[in-house]
Structures are given as C-alpha cells and as structure tokens.
C-alpha cells in the first residue's frame, strides 16, 4: 500500500496538478480570514474552504492515470487497492495543507476566550471532517460513477456546496460549531467521526463499483 501511495503521490505532485487546488485554498483562506479575527470563526472558514479543494484533489487523483497505465497498476498492485490508494492520496494531501492552515490561523488569530491548544484541536478536527466529506464528494462525482468531465465538474461544485449547507452533513456541523462559537467550544469529535465513517463507506462503495462499472 505504501508503494501505491508513493506512486499516486508522485503522479500528483510531479504533474503540478496540485497547484490549482492549493492556490484556490490559499485564496479562500486569504479572503475569509483576517489576522486578529476570533480564532474559532476563522478556523471554521478555513475548514469550509478546504472542502471543495479536497473534492477537487480526489477527482484529480482518480483521473490522472490514463486507462492503460491504470490497468498496469491494477494488475501489479490489485485493482481495489490501487483505487483506494488514489482516494487516500487525493484526501491526504488536502488534510496536510489544512493542518498547515490551522497552524497559521491559530497563530495569527485572536485567542480570546479559548486556549491555543483547544483551538488547534477544534481546528484540526473540523479540517479533517471537511477534507474527508469533500473527498467523499470528489469520489462520488468521479470514475467509476461519473465519467463525463462536464457532469463531473458540475457535480463537484454542486455537491461541495450542498454538503456545506445541508443539515446532517458532518462538514456543516463541524463548521457551524466553530463559526457560531463565542469563546470556548467543544471539539467537534462527533462530526469528525461521522466524516471518517462517510469517507470509509464512500471509499468501499467506490472500490467495489469500479469492478462492475468499468
């Protein structure tokens, strides 16, 4: 699995396809967050901004191999494992970028009413919840479910927006908890756990569907 993750990360990083989603994320954070703002609200905005970025990144990782190259990898490493590695790579790098953003936002924000460690923990949990929810959206609007690029991109944008506003979405709950917090807040453990579950179920369905649909 490590070898497959290195392979997909190599594809992702060397192709420079990571650049556009990263710039989008940087722009969202730069527009939404001001140094000196209350830290929890800023962390909520930064986490929300990561959601479409993670969806995009997962879509990139699922589609960056040509069909023949994908067949070679599938034979060498196992079809489902290769697909899972692409999903993990696509979701993993945004989590890393999000963690860096959480550190930066916590370092520059107004910590009044919350401690630094508590803000960090809440921010990391919300960021992970958003990245995994976004990753699930990305997986559901890419192969093997949606193959046409137009529908895929439209679904990615709409889906990302929907999971940020729909009640019941782990990302919405995590972001809302931070944005609405005045002073201290409880770390969004439940939202993060729900997002992990959602991502795991989506990954399992995506890996299984790959066998049937393509």
């Amino acid at each position: 699995m490590t070898a497959l993750l290195r392979y997909h990360s190599g594809l992702f990083l060397r192709s420079q396809r990571w650049l556009a989603p990263l710039l989008l994320y940087a722009a969202l954070v730069a527009v939404g967050v001001r140094p000196g703002d209350p830290v929890l609200g800023s962390l909520g905005i930064a986490a929300a901004g990561l959601l479409p970025v993670a969806a995009w990144s997962v879509r990139i990782c699922l589609t960056q191999e040509a069909a023949a190259a994908r067949a070679v990898t599938a034979a060498a490493g196992g079809r489902a494992r290769a697909h899972l590695a692409a999903l993990l790579t696509g979701a993993g790098w945004p989590v890393l970028a999000g963690a860096v953003a959480v550190g930066a936002v916590t370092g520059t924000g107004d910590l009044a009413g919350t401690g630094g460690p508590a803000a960090l923990l809440a921010g990391l949990l919300a960021t992970t919840a958003c990245a995994l929810t976004g990753g699930a959206v990305g997986a559901l609007v890419s192969r093997p479910f949606v193959k046409a690029t137009g529908w895929s991109v439209a679904g990615l944008l709409l889906g990302s927006l929907l999971v940020l506003v729909t009640t019941g979405s782990p990302a919405k709950h995590a972001v809302a908890a931070l944005v609405a917090a005045e002073g201290a807040t409880r770390p969004p453990w439940a939202s993060c756990a729900a997002a992990v579950l959602l991502a795991a179920v989506t990954a399992a369905v995506s890996c299984r569907a790959g066998a049937r649909r393509e």
């Binding site: 070898a3 392979y7 190599g10 594809l11 060397r14 023949a68 067949a71 070679v72």
Partner: protein, 301 residues
C-alpha cells in the same frame, strides 16, 4: 508436464463472464479454464472477440461480472495493448515505482529497472521523461515493468507490437525464462508464429466463449526430433555462457563438443523436461534434442 514450482495453485476461471455495465451485452460468458504454473498459454481468436477482455480478467484489471477467478498469484504483471506514456515520470522512476508496487524495495527496484532497460536496449532513455519517449521505447518500458519483479503470472496483450526485432527476440527469451522458472504466461499476439510451437495451451476465443482448451501439444522442437517421452535416455546439445545449476536435473553431466563450444548432455527421459527448462532458464541456446538409442550415440549426425 512437471513444473519446477509445483506448490503454487493454478489460476482457475470458473463460469467467468464479463460485460461492461450492469446491462451491457456480454463480451465473454461461461469461461472455464485452468492455467497451471509453468504453462505458456496463447489466446487466439479473431479481432473483437474478447481476447483482451479475457486477458484483463486473468490479470485482475477487470473483475468478472459473474463466475470466479481464483489462484491469481501475488506477483502479477500486465502489459497493455497500447501504453500511453502520459505520466510525469522518467522511465527509471516509473519502473522503480512499479517495482515497489510489485513488492521490491527501492534499491533492488532501481537496479532491476536498469537491467531490464539495458536488456531491451533502452538504457540510454532511463532518465528521459516518459512523455518524450518514442512509441517503441515506451513499449520497452511497458514490457520492462512487467518483467521487473519476476512475476508469477505474466499477461501480455500484443506486447511485441512496436518493439524492434532485437527487443522482440529478447521478450521471447524473457517469456521463456519466466515460464521455465514456473510462472504462468498468457499472451495474445497478431503474429501466429510468435513463440510458435511452444505454447502448452491455446485458448481460442470466439462469439463470447472460450471455444477450445487444446490439450498440450508436444513442442515442435521436440516433435521434430523424436518422442522424448519414450523411456530411452535423451541427448541434448546446447551452448551458453551462463553458469548452470549444480547438480543438474537427473544428475546430468555436460560433455563439451569440440567443434563450436556446444555441450552434450545425456539425461533420462523423465528428467529431460527439467533439464531443458534449466538450460533455457540460464539463457542457453538448445541446438538439438533427440533420443539416445544404440548406434545413435557415436559422433554428431
């Protein structure tokens, strides 16, 4: 035919069918086949009958829509029909990545990548980005990734297409070596003379079915000489530079023939297959195989 690696389960296809999408037409259906270790299998059939689909199923690239495929070994390698090198790696980096995916550590993967590129005469392109390779060199990379990690199941979909004659011969030799070492090799090639006389089994695909699982024919090399399965001992004339295993199968000993560096082996018929396999695995060239009868022993005919 006995196999050197007898412990491995054969790859078994039981009632395998494949269609694209849940309501698509069946491309293949009701395929039953057994692909044992140490077996070279040609897949024959007209264009568009499902040869590539059968290969993709066996390689594990596609999953069967019905039926089961069992016994696929961990080290499986596949060479696709066309390998588009639209990946942001150099040839060597790609091979190292694929070597690692197939279970090699980074160091050995790098060394093997160099060896296999050299074998196919593409060592000069090791540092070239895949996107800058010619079609033939890209195909050499595709073939090299499949042979890199000593696959136990090797699936070649017209892998020879686009290779130069030297590389084709090298791929022929590499496939023979893998089969001799106990791997299962499954191939499609438009050239009916590809590895002619050597396939142990031919699967003929037609009308969405695998029509015939032909019984293993006696390889032409042996058939032309004499019935080697007769109880009489066999003499084999071969030449090569690489060291041979010691002791040889059946305790055979080689006696040099003065003329051209060839070596004469006498071996019991029961061990002749194993000796041939050992010779081919060491990249020796086999000149002749013939039964050893009274009177046929003196001098070179």
């Amino acid at each position: 035919m006995s196999t050197i690696v007898g412990a491995r389960e054969p790859v078994r296809l039981a009632g395998v069918g494949r269609r694209y999408g849940p309501r698509g037409p069946w491309v293949l259906r009701g395929v039953d086949a057994e692909l044992p270790a140490g077996r070279l299998v040609r897949v024959a059939g007209a264009n568009g009958t499902g040869k590539s689909t059968l290969l993709r199923l066996v390689a594990g690239v596609d999953a069967p829509a019905e039926g089961r495929i069992t016994g696929r070994p961990a080290r499986t390698a596949y060479v696709p029909e066309r390998f588009p090198p639209a990946l942001p790696f150099t040839a060597r980096d790609y091979l190292v990545h694929l070597g690692r995916v197939q279970g090699l550590r980074t160091g050995p993967a790098r060394a093997r990548a160099g060896e296999w590129l050299a074998r196919f005469g593409a060592e000069a392109y090791a540092g070239t980005p895949l996107t800058a390779l010619s079609k033939g060199t890209a195909q050499k990379v595709a073939v090299a990734q499949a042979l890199l990690a000593d696959p136990e199941l090797l699936v070649l979909d017209e892998a020879w297409t686009g290779l130069d004659p030297e590389a084709r011969a090298e791929l022929d030799a590499a496939v023979r070596e893998r089969v001799a070492a106990g791997a299962t090799a499954l191939f499609v090639d438009h050239d009916p003379h590809r590895l002619a006389g050597e396939p142990d089994t031919t699967l003929t695909v037609g009308a969405g079915r695998v029509l015939a699982d032909a019984p293993p024919p006696v390889p032409a090399l042996l058939r032309s000489a004499a019935p080697v399965r007769a109880p009489s001992p066999v003499r084999i004339v071969a030449s090569g530079d690489r060291p041979l295993p010691d002791p040889l199968p059946g305790g055979a000993a080689g006696a040099p023939l003065a003329a051209d560096g060839a070596v004469l082996f006498h071996v019991a018929a029961a061990h002749s297959d194993d000796l041939l396999r050992a010779l081919l695995a060491a990249a020796w060239h086999v000149h002749r195989v013939e039964p050893l009868r009274a009177g046929a022993d003196g001098g070179r005919p």
